[in-house]
């Protein structure tokens, strides 16, 4: 039924000759190998120079050694994360030294975590978008819009659950619009989300008439998210932790996460691997919008208000946190843990400046410097690794 052939007669081997057998025992020397009866019958001149065939095993075993010591745990705490943790520890030490009485108190730590929660949730969404090769400038404005929409008198009349649902839907809906403009409208993410930033703020101002909308009586459930404590921490911190956990799982354990890296790292390769890049991009922005909706609920809980001025410049903090966390702005690489550590660094700095009664302008300068230093350090560690 079948016969073995080559393109030319002299390259032909007898039928049944085994081609190359990768599984051949590696301890054979070339001379032995060529002596096997099925190898086509070319008696092989022994080459004194040729190293034994197990040479490649030597190279490979060398290659494996360090890899073996790199278990999942080692990888989890890769150098750059360790750097971020170290920076955080350093800041804590500074806090302990400069404000021994107020920094390490429970109330201050709760304060730091509550502050971090709102932007933290946004940062999770931002991490997805940036790993996927995009950027979302509209996050702060979307959060404001969602908080305003959820606190209008009309919405409030339906009770706290509808308010929460409203915030989530507004966020996700606006995110979808971003996604449509970018993936199907082929707009540059920077421009599409910049337009959304401006428009969403405007809409929020219009809906609230530039007034701060208080959460009404009967809807205190939302406020209780920040006042009720479980094991000493307000509920909203748990919500933040939950979002981080879900985000981590989504990014690291699901096809959605894996495809996010592919879409951001090499969109053409992703497309040719059968990934619907446009639909995926759309979903990424919707996800970011949804996170803004969640953040809106948290900020309503903390401030008891909805306002068009909420979340001013949050987009910059979120992007900075993601970058400090080691995510490439060009996409394809990054981690949630890194982003959260980056965010905590930022929040602790803010806290330290406030505790020490320092100028907010200096705080901004310090933050700017930190971004530069973090990125420079990452560049160094990247280069040393390749």
């Amino acid at each position: 039924m079948t016969e073995a052939r080559g393109p030319k007669a002299h390259e032909r081997s007898p039928a049944g000759a085994e081609p190359v057998d990768p599984a051949r025992p590696a301890d054979q020397t070339p001379a032995e190998a060529s002596g096997t009866p099925s190898a086509g019958g070319h008696p092989q001149a022994e080459t004194p120079d040729a190293p034994p065939a197990d040479e490649h095993l030597r190279v490979e075993s060398q290659a494996r050694k360090p890899a073996a010591s790199q278990g999942p745990l080692a990888r989890f705490g890769q150098a750059r994360h360790l750097g971020l943790v170290a920076a955080l520890v350093l800041l804590a030490i500074v806090g302990l030294i400069t404000q021994p009485d107020s920094f390490a108190t429970a109330s201050n730590l709760v304060n730091i975590l509550s502050l971090a929660s709102t932007i933290g949730v946004i940062t999770v969404g931002m991490t997805f978008v940036i790993i996927g090769g995009g950027i979302d400038l509209s996050v702060g404005a979307l959060m404001a819009l969602a908080s305003v929409w959820a606190t209008t008198l009309a919405t409030q009349s339906y009770g706290p659950f509808v308010m929460i649902l409203c915030a989530l839907l507004v966020g996700a809906g606006a995110g979808l619009v971003n996604g449509f403009l970018i993936s199907y409208g082929r707009m540059v993410p920077f421009i599409a989300t910049l337009a959304m930033l401006v428009a969403a703020r405007g809409l929020a101002q219009r809906m609230s008439d530039r007034k701060t909308q208080l959460i009404q009586q009967g809807n205190e459930l939302i406020v209780e998210l920040s006042t009720t404590r479980v094991l000493g921490l307000p509920v909203l911190v748990y919500i933040f932790a939950l979002v981080v956990a879900v985000g981590w799982v989504l990014l690291n354990r699901t096809t959605f996460g894996r495809r996010t890296y592919a879409v951001g790292g090499n969109p053409e390769a992703a497309r040719l691997a059968g990934i619907d890049v446009r639909r995926h991009t759309l979903l990424l922005y919707a996800l970011s919008g949804l996170c803004c909706g969640i953040a809106a609920v948290l900020i309503m809980a903390r401030t008891t208000t909805g306002s068009s001025t909420h979340g001013d410049l949050y987009e910059l903090d979120a992007i900075a946190a993601v970058i400090i966390g080691g995510t490439l702005l060009t996409g394809g690489r990054g981690t949630i843990i890194g982003s959260i550590l980056g965010l905590l660094i930022f929040t602790v700095i803010t806290n330290l400046f406030i505790l020490n009664g320092l100028n907010t302008s200096d705080q901004l300068i310090a933050k700017g410097l930190i971004i530069v230093v973090a990125v420079l350090l990452q560049r160094r560690s990247l280069e040393s690794r390749t």
Binding site: M1, T2, A4, R5, G6, P7, K8, E11, R12, S13, A17, P19, V20, P22, Q28, T29, P30, A33, A39, H42, Q44, A45, T47, D49, A50, P51, P52, A53, E55, H56, R58, V59, E60, A63, R64, P66, A67, Q70, R253, T254, T255, F256, R258, R259, Y261, A262, G265, N266, A269, A270, L272, A273, G274, I275, D276, R279, G332, R333, R385, T386
Partner: protein, 501 residues
Amino acid sequence: MVADPPLLLMRGIVKQFPGVRALDGVDLEVRRGEVHCLLGQNGAGKSTLIKILAGAHQPDEGVITLDGEEVRLVTPTAAIKLGVSTIYQELDLVDGLSVAENIFLGHEPGRLGFIRQSDANRATRDLMTRLGHPEIRPTTEVGRLSPAAKQVVSMARALSHDTRLIIMDEPSAALAHDEVANLFRIVRELTAQGVAVVYISHRLEEIREIGDRVTVLKDGRTVAVGLPAKETPTSEVVSLMTGRTVEYVFPPRRTEPATGPEVLRVEGLTVPGVVADVSFVVRAGEIVGLAGLVGSGRSEIIEAVYGARRSSGKIVLEGRPVRRGTADTVRRGMGLAPEERKAQALLLDQSVAHNITLAGLGRYARFGWIDRRREAAEARTLIETLDIRPGDPDRPVKTLSGGNQQKAVLARWLVDDRKLLLLDEPTRGVDVGARAELYAVIRKLADQGIGVLLVSSEVPEVLGLADRVLVVREGRIIHQSAADDLDEHQVLDMIMEGSAL
């Protein structure tokens, strides 16, 4: 015979990468005006050696002497200044810039930072004419060129410097038969002027044709120096490279024409400007080869079939028409190993395992949740089957040698749940030993009932692996017949001159 020192002498070069000793004391001696070939299996260290010579990597140990003088090649610019220019294995052109801008990047003609574009364009036109490609215009954006044309541009860039040594890392991998002849003409011109050429290729017949002397690397060590390229028997070279004898055999193919169900039917496929009214059928268990020149429309045909390119006409997969879009075709069982691994297939920062499993993620996932055990197990199996080295699934794919990266691209699709595989230059950059393994894997999949559509610039590969051959010329199929009824010369005549049988 050689009284004056050789042009280039490298002694005891060592290069350690994290986890791999890529070079472990390599020697290389190149004389003026010779074509010195560098041979070795995938991952032997050839590219690493020439990157050291090009100033792109720094050696950990070793001495480099140029014209009797010890030199340190600290940067690519330093190497170019010393007259060493390089054509890298992985194209390194800037897609957004024009041909002329790419060629003169870093040494633009002009003064005080102002570029004299007309000079650059004129020089580019001269270079292109010299390379036999006057149709590549200086102002064309490089991103729009075919891989073969890009290869010509990198060659022009190497020639645009004043050089005494040109290094070519697999320059012919992206080229078709006639282009290679063109390349060789240039190489002969250069050597006649006393320029030395270091030439890397996995095609041994090329070495025989153009080479003067051969150095063989194996696992980061020199195992033979200065072998005469023309006289050394192929079998000896191969056994030096691999440490064993390799028969360049194609797996047995079916002796009777395939009669299985049609996997793919293409009717009147047209891609404006490239492919005109192409019709053919691929049956289950059949390997169909597309032979043709680079630019004849071969790649466009399979990309259109895959839904990755706009086209008109009818494409029917297993009796049902295909909608446009790769998500649909992949779901229905197609797979494409594209022509340019770096630009079109690989996620360079990701691990080998993630690259391999990217397209088949759905197979290991339930409700979007990846079963990582199964994923890792499957990746490991594929790494073993194709002998990807180093075999660590977690290593970033960008640290693999070119040939091993190519194997990773193929591994992505060489799974048995596919119905139709589209392979565009599947063995580009893969060494002789590994090729035989790849052929065997492809044939085995076909025997399991998968249809395969194969594009290759190497006519012997098409004739040896395919059951049926379609000859493509200027966007049309000008001939089809069983591979057994054709020989290499007939196919070459048809793809070049279009003379039908």
